[in-house]
């Protein structure tokens, strides 16, 4: 009750204190927001928008739908037609569309779209479009006379599936499915590549992560325990390659490891290997693993170092004085305290390795290629939708891993340095 009678607290100019505080806080918030706005805009424009655009690309392609309106309408009205034996009305719509494509010069666009799932269709469309204006009913017979490939079941399935603007077709292709006369089915062994490469990419990345951890752990420990002057010197040895261009480091590995390279020359001159039996350590999986481990090593050392640096040596001493062996001390006292660093380093190295492109492209040869090289391949062959679908699958699998990691280790335990 006393409070109600108390005089209202005001500032020097007579405004209520509460209101003045609120205004001041508002201003501070606005200022803080203004300060981060450039970064927000930057991230939005250069990161989120392109990713959203890429995800759209992987499901959206109206190359066929936009150039064949009559057939699209027909497919909408007859969703359950028999692709093995389409009726005359479907052929009539197709011929009408082909004639239109010839006039609007969209044959290539439509043909290319269908060609993604049914190879050999671009020239089929071109031939059909050239002839379309002169065709007379019955269209079915006359079109099949131009080229009997127009009767293929897979082609009609392909056109039906391409008649929408949105499609899951690219994801199916990226999962090694092929469009056959019976519908989507697993491709033959010698045609399957994507899932194999996904698994291979994750395996190689895991191997590289483990190698990095094994190599980095003692180095980071040494860095953390040496006196400052010495550890600073060692740190430079770690950071110097880190600051050197990725391309330079990769090409130096080529110089070292190729068949006429430094390592082989040394081995031959020492008589360990004879001249004809030079080891092939480059342009294969070995080259990819060696070069990538080296390139990614600092990403493991630095988080480990930052964690080890702050572990008080007295803990280990206490354990020893209580009778623990060195191994027990390491296993039960030291190692658990380095876990946040191990976790951060491994996550960093693994995620970087999964998306790596330049190093495998340069030193991978035929069997050291990763999934990113295939994304680049499809970009260069201008099948952007398929490239986007593979990239999206890669993105999703990394997010799943991240989520699993969060469940198992806890993201709050990450410590990057």
């Amino acid at each position: 009750m006393a409070e109600a009678n108390a005089p209202l607290l005001t500032t020097a100019d007579g405004r209520p204190l509460k209101a003045a505080l609120a205004t001041a806080q508002q201003r501070a918030k606005r200022r803080a927001f203004l300060l981060v706005t450039p970064l927000l805009l930057f991230v939005l424009l250069t990161f989120l928008v392109p990713i959203a655009y890429m995800l759209m690309r992987s499901v959206e392609h109206d190359g066929f739908a936009a150039s064949a309106p009559a057939l699209v309408t027909w497919f909408e009205e007859n969703p359950d037609f028999d692709p093995a034996n389409p009726p005359e009305a479907a052929y009539a719509a197709l011929v009408q569309d082909l004639a239109r494509m010839q006039v609007e010069r969209t044959t290539g666009i439509a043909g290319t779209r269908i060609n993604y799932s049914v190879p050999g269709t671009i020239s089929l469309f071109k031939g059909g479009a050239r002839a379309a204006a002169d065709l007379a009913p019955p269209y079915r017979e006359s079109l099949l006379e131009v080229d009997e490939a127009w009767g293929q079941t897979a082609l009609w399935r392909g056109m039906q599936s391409a008649s929408g603007t949105y499609t899951t077709e690219f994801y199916r292709v990226a999962s090694d499915l092929k469009l056959t006369d019976e519908g989507w089915a697993r491709g033959q062994d010698n045609e399957r590549i994507y899932l194999y490469l996904f698994i291979k990419t994750f395996m190689i990345s895991a191997i590289i992560t483990v190698l990095c951890l094994l190599l980095a752990f003692p180095v980071a420990h040494l860095l953390a325990t040496l006196p400052m002057a010495k550890s600073a010197l060692l740190m430079i040895l770690v950071l110097l390659p880190f600051w050197t261009s990725l391309l330079v480091r990769t090409t130096s590995w080529i110089v070292l490891l190729q068949e006429q390279g430094v390592v082989n020359n040394v081995l031959v001159s020492m008589g360990l290997v004879d001249d004809a039996g030079r080891l092939s350590m480059m342009y294969n999986m070995t080259g990819t693993i060696v070069a990538m481990t080296h390139v990614l090593l600092p990403f493991m050392i630095l988080p480990l170092y930052s964690v080890m640096k702050v572990i008080p040596p007295s803990y280990a001493r206490a354990a020893r004085s209580l009778g623990a062996t060195s191994w027990t001390t390491f296993r039960r006292v030291y190692l658990p305290q380095t876990l946040p660093g191990i976790a951060a380093g491994s996550l960093l190295v693994f995620i970087l390795a999964v998306g790596y492109y330049i190093t495998p492209a340069l030193v991978g040869g035929a069997d050291g290629q990763l999934i990113s090289n295939l994304i680049a391949f499809h970009m260069s062959k201008s099948n952007w939708s398929l490239a986007a679908a593979i990239a999206a699958m890669l993105l999703v699998s990394i997010l799943v891993l991240y989520w699993l990691y969060d469940r198992l280790v806890g993201i709050d335990r990450l410590k990057f340095g």
Partner: protein
Amino acid sequence: MKKTLILSTALVSLGFAANADITVMSWGGAYGEAQNEAFVKPFVAATGKATIMVDSDNPATPIKAMVESGNVTVDVASLEYADAIRLCDEGVLEPIDISTLPAGADGTPAADDFLPGAVTECGVSTDIWSNVFAYDTTKFPEGPTTVADFFDLEKFPGKRGLRKGAKAVLELALMGDGVPAAEVYDLLRTPEGVDRAFAKLDTIKSEVVWWEAGSQAPQLLADGEVAMTTAYNGRIFAAAMNEGKPFEIVWDGQIYENEMFVVPKGAPNMADAMEFIAFATSTEGLRASAQQISYGPARKSSMLEEIVFKDGKTVMAPHLPTAPANMGNALETSADFWVDYDAELNERFQAWLAQ
């Protein structure tokens, strides 16, 4: 303030100056250099229009990306025949009217002067080049002579260089397996034919070094990394003539095609680009190109007089893919085939590589 104004004006005018350049994108290396000498420099001298040349491993890739993203910085590009047709169908290229091309030096209209197929809806041929294979004569004095020898690791041991891609590799494999040139594409349209080509490639797979840029092939041969390699014939010719390398071309099983100048849709200097193409593909332009590198001119009138290499003494005729002696067992690349099957076969090729 005044300083900023002057500076920004200068920058803007610089930007405009850069835009006024006609940009020609080609394949770099000995070929790009030859085009620069034969087309770009004389064009600049004749018209005074600033023209520059830029390199790409395959100009078809950046061109498509530029047009799709609406940021075209190239006015003229040099493309493989199948790519020129495919991109034209996809609406990425400007149509070129054959009637705007100059008549031959002997007065023949362009339409009759160009070889069959050398002018398409969107492209004009600059030359006829060929995929051949070459070897180092110091390694094999008795030399491979047939396309089958390329796949014969017993008779001719050593690594092989091959272009990393399906095109021209599958054809070579089939011809190496004894398929006559005329039947190659019919066979490749069937799954059995494709299997057969890959089976043939399997026999040398462990010994293959794959190259991607045209200039890598002569380099691999010169470094001794491979004993023989497929290559563009002009690159081998250039290495032999300009650098005195002991390289010999095997013409048996050569795979030849037209190289096309095209204009990407939305090119910043469209009119200048067309003028450049008309200039470059004139009788004289094509002759000048054939004096630089051993690719055959696409106009009949360019070949009326004997063409001599820039060294002043080598007669070019026997070094051209189109020379009768070199055409014994030759295959013309089927643009129709590669437009249709490029995606599928390259995917299969990637899968095969990774296995």
